[in-house]
Symmetry: C2
Subunit: 163 residues, 2 copies
């Protein structure tokens, strides 16, 4: 995966949980809902059909209890415990999603998440998030991409360690 | 594949060549270049990396000898001789393509092509082309989608029958 600094955001961490535990966090809706969104935001609904063209849908809720419009994306590549590629540009059945508006994430992206086992039992966790243009990248960065992904991943680690 | 009449264009024909011959026409660049574009237009370059996330790139040339901007799409699903899904919304590595402009096909689409063998040795050939919005569908229809796909498919049949 070659990152393009003008179009992509990259997030990397080594985490002390196994690739299997990370994978479960991303692919089991009951687990995903517990960590995917930095608290006090939460995920109140999640639908996962883990195959290329299958739905990946989450509904996030603000601390005031307001539900955001659902994000319905789809999976593009699935290699258990190694790689998960998904996008909000297409929905289930690979159907193009409507043009994004400001109520949802106002830009298209593709997430290419790769995992590899570390000798200590942990996981090297790398996400490359590709955008359609530099403006999309900048909007995503300004939303707090780096911090948001970091807090969420901390929540996953805490959850999977039984914290 | 559920077609949406507001967003999709659908093309169906029974053709007197086998699914293997249709598949070769779509996946072997040297063969594709001979039929993919209604004459006197032609395809002057074609690159195919037949795997999910692999490139599908064609360059078309007008009868006056002018090359159009390359269309670089990618494959989303590949089931040999049965189903081929590709899009111009994403490029190789599933990277989002820049927003389309009027120099290229000015809309995003996903082609879901399905083939099934007929008892007479021929192929039931169905393409559902999904668009992001009704305007995209209408622009594609106005470009002569139905006629263009029909003429091109006639050219493939003629080619594969040694005509």
């Amino acid at each position: 995966m070659n990152a393009d600094p003008n179009l992509d955001l990259r997030f990397h961490r080594d985490v002390p949980i196994s690739p299997a535990q990370v994978w479960e966090g991303w692919t089991n809706p009951a687990v995903l809902m517990q960590w995917f969104c930095p608290r006090p935001w939460k995920v109140v609904d999640c639908e996962i059909d883990l195959r290329p063209g299958g739905i990946f849908r989450t509904v996030m809720q603000s601390p005031e209890g307001q539900n955001m419009p659902a994000n319905s994306g789809t999976y593009l590549a699935i290699e258990p415990q190694r790689r998960l590629v998904w996008t909000n540009a297409l929905g289930p059945g690979f159907r193009p999603n409507p043009k994004p508006d400001d109520q949802s994430l106002g830009f298209l992206f593709v997430v290419d998440l790769t995992l590899s086992a570390l000798p200590n039992g942990g996981t090297s966790y790398t996400a490359v998030v590709m955008h359609q243009d530099a403006a999309g990248r900048e909007a995503h960065a300004a939303m707090g991409f780096e911090q948001g992904w970091g807090i969420a991943l901390d929540q996953l680690v805490e959850l999977q360690r039984g914290g």
